[in-house]
């Protein structure tokens, strides 16, 4: 077993990894930028070291500083989390040079699968179906126009180095190509320092369904069922569930086996995800491989009963997978939503700031993987994700009902969040029927934002009037805010007393 793990990340995923370490009896070491000194991941880790100023480029993205911290703390392993350096092969290379186990695949496998064109060649060798398109970066606009004509519009321009929808453009017709080419290339250059793009046929209303795989260093590779991540906003997943409401046992087996073939072909080790698009006829097409733990890994954990982070640590420590494919049993249904500090009503404007009060939901079937706490100031420098709320149930209906219930319990003041939007999505009839595709939310969003209130207006207004009045008149409020006694009392009673005082002929203060 590994003994001490440097967690090269921040926020909820760093907390998640520290929890796994704690449960395994492995020491956890956090790193933090100047903006993150009071972050939860620093507080829950056994040790913590500063790695530089707030901007990621000067802290979390600095391999040299991470190696320094790992050496200082005497770590024998490093977990990259997701994002930041998680898919940069230089990180496992630096780990190897410093004698530190990297909790993830080899730099070679990462490099191979990180390049979309190399990954497609690999998929072809492994007999994994792909969306028709080219495998090589396209040289110039003229080539792009020619290839698109051959494939037939609509087509999708995608960054070779890409991920998360950056550097991706849908091109509906030839006339849109020049602008799309320019935008995709420059966005890719900005985001990844690599402006190269390639082209695929665009599928109508496809689903995004991905397969979680695990591979040890002893030749064992398994798949842990699928996750449906079709609810996306601008190519960013916002809700993920397992199993997919569209899945059949046959399709799961075909997709799972294709993913395992691909992983074996790449000599892949540790946890990874093979992403597919699935069309209405249940044909599936290879999309890409994420060579790391995914944000949405908890839904797989809840249906399999496994702990993926602990398994990652065991695999990196050289252990064999403690189960075979036939031992993996999926039970029930799990669904996750990503909670962000943002304002959906105001064009998803980020809403950093200080969390004044925070009520975490819990109870049957609920799991919250968060990285914040009351009094914490969400920094402006990073992705504004607060955490993930996950619900499991006997079936999809129960999991969804529980997530909705938990979202209603979730209460946060001081910053705005997207929690209420999820309630509306979960109540949408198309969502309830599982009729999803990757652009579903983008198309549905205006309706969901404008309408879809879940609280009856009249009754809510009456309650708002009463609370507003009491707040307005509350003479004791200032004292209360000082936390002098903390005793919760009936505001109504207190007001009654105040009114009595008002009526009596005493001099006013």
């Amino acid at each position: 077993m590994l003994k001490k793990i440097l967690i090269a990340n921040r926020g909820e995923i760093a907390v998640r990894i520290a929890r796994a370490c704690r449960e395994l009896g492995v020491r956890s070491v956090a790193v933090y930028s100047d903006a993150d000194r009071a972050s939860l991941h620093v507080r829950v880790a056994d040790e913590a070291y500063a790695v530089g100023p707030a901007p990621s480029r000067e802290s979390y993205l600095r391999i040299d500083k991470l190696m320094d911290a790992a050496r200082r703390a005497g770590c024998d392993a490093l977990h990259p989390g997701y994002g930041f350096l998680a898919e940069n092969p230089e990180l496992p290379r630096a780990c190897a040079a410093n004698g530190i186990a990297f909790i993830g695949p080899s730099p070679e496998a990462m490099e191979l699968l990180g390049s979309k064109t190399a990954a497609r060649q690999l998929a072809a060798r492994a007999g994994v179906p792909m969306v028709p398109g080219v495998q090589d970066p396209i040289e110039n606009l003229q080539d792009a126009e020619r290839i698109a004509r051959e494939l037939g519009y609509p087509v999708l321009l995608k960054a070779v180095a890409g991920g998360g929808g950056k550097g991706m453009r849908l091109v509906n017709a030839a006339g849109e190509m020049p602008a799309a080419w320019r935008d995709a290339s420059s966005e890719a250059l900005n985001a990844f320092g690599d402006g190269r793009v390639y082209l695929e046929r665009y599928l109508d209303r496809p689903r995004h369904i991905e397969i979680q795989i695990l591979a040890d260093h002893h030749g064992n590779t398994v798949y842990l069922g699928e996750r449906e991540c079709s609810v996306q906003r601008r190519h960013q997943k916002v809700i993920e569930e397992s199993p997919s409401p569209f899945m059949t046992p046959e399709l799961r087996r075909s997709m799972g086996e294709a993913a395992v073939r691909l992983a074996r072909e790449a000599r892949y080790t540790n946890a990874g995800t093979v992403e597919f698009l699935v069309d209405a006829d249940r044909n599936f097409y290879f999309l890409e491989v994420n060579t790391r733990l995914q944000v949405e890994h908890p839904v797989t954990e809840m249906v399999t009963g496994l702990d993926l982070v602990k398994l990652q640590i065991r695999i990196a420590g050289g252990e064999s997978l403690p189960f075979a494919q036939e031992n993996i049993v999926l039970r029930g249904h799990a669904i996750e939503c990503r909670l962000y500090a943002e304002d959906p009503v105001n064009n998803f404007f980020p809403s950093p700031g200080t969390i004044v009060s925070y009520r975490a939901p819990s109870g049957p079937g609920i799991r919250l993987d968060d990285g914040v706490y009351p009094g914490f100031t969400v920094p402006t420098e990073y992705d504004p994700m607060l955490g993930k709320l996950i619900a499991a149930g006997q079936d999809r209906a129960e999991a969804v009902a529980r997530l909705e219930r938990a979202l209603e319990e979730f209460s946060i003041t001081g910053i705005k969040t997207n929690a209420q939007l999820f309630v509306r999505i979960l109540r949408d009839p198309e969502f309830v029927r599982g009729e999803l595709f990757t652009r579903w939310l983008d198309e549905r969003l205006p309706q969901l934002i404008a309408g879809g209130y879940t609280t009856e207006e009249g009754a809510a207004e009456d309650a708002a009037i009463l609370a507003g009045m009491l707040h307005h008149f509350s003479a004791a409020r200032a004292d209360h805010a000082n936390g002098a006694d903390g005793q919760t009392q009936s505001a109504w009673k207190r007001d009654a007393r105040r009114e009595q005082l008002d009526r009596s002929p005493q001099p006013r203060r």
Binding site: F349, T380, S411, Y453, A460, D462, A467, H472, W492, D495
Partner: protein, 162 residues
């Protein structure tokens, strides 16, 4: 006690009798009870219905949230003048648009002096690696506008529309 208020633009007349725990809104009488849970958070019971309501000051009035409903509320309280509290009802007139968060003005989309429509984009601010368009809250004349390239703090005035 009796008073008038405006909630999401509509006028309401409210009477409350704390001794009998009754509230009457526009003539509808209800049994009412309230408990303050924490500063600005209330548990309200109205004819037995249970509500969680949060209240915060917002633009001279109150922003009140109950369930997923949001209400803007102004109270006309004759006594509030004595206390020097604001009961202002300025919903129209001069509008200041402030930066909701620290960021950088990456593009301006209008010119001071120009007539603008409600909803028209005025400038683009970049924060947390995302660009966001700031729109005019009303039709009128753009009086002031932040400069392209400037860094702004949260709460700083970005534009004024009159």
């Amino acid at each position: 006690m009796k008073l008038d208020l405006r909630i999401n633009g509509a006028k309401r007349s409210v009477e409350f009798d704390t001794a009998r725990r009754e509230v009457t809104i526009d003539g509808r009488k209800m049994v009412a009870d309230a408990a303050e849970i924490s500063s600005g958070a209330y548990s309200i019971l109205l004819d037995g219905q249970s509500f969680e309501v949060s209240v915060e000051a917002s633009g001279g009035g109150l922003l009140v949230r109950a369930g997923d409903r949001e209400f803007q509320m102004q109270i006309f309280d004759p006594r509030s003048w004595r206390r020097g509290r604001s009961g202002s009802i300025e919903l129209e007139g001069r509008q200041e648009i402030v930066a909701p968060m620290p960021g950088k003005i990456v593009r301006v989309l209008a010119t001071p002096g120009e007539k603008v429509e409600a909803g028209q984009g005025l400038l683009v601010i970049e924060a947390m690696k995302m660009q966001n368009e700031i729109r005019s809250p009303k039709s009128g004349t753009l009086e002031r506008l932040a400069r392209e390239g400037n860094t702004v703090r949260a709460g700083e005035i970005l534009a004024v529309v009159t």
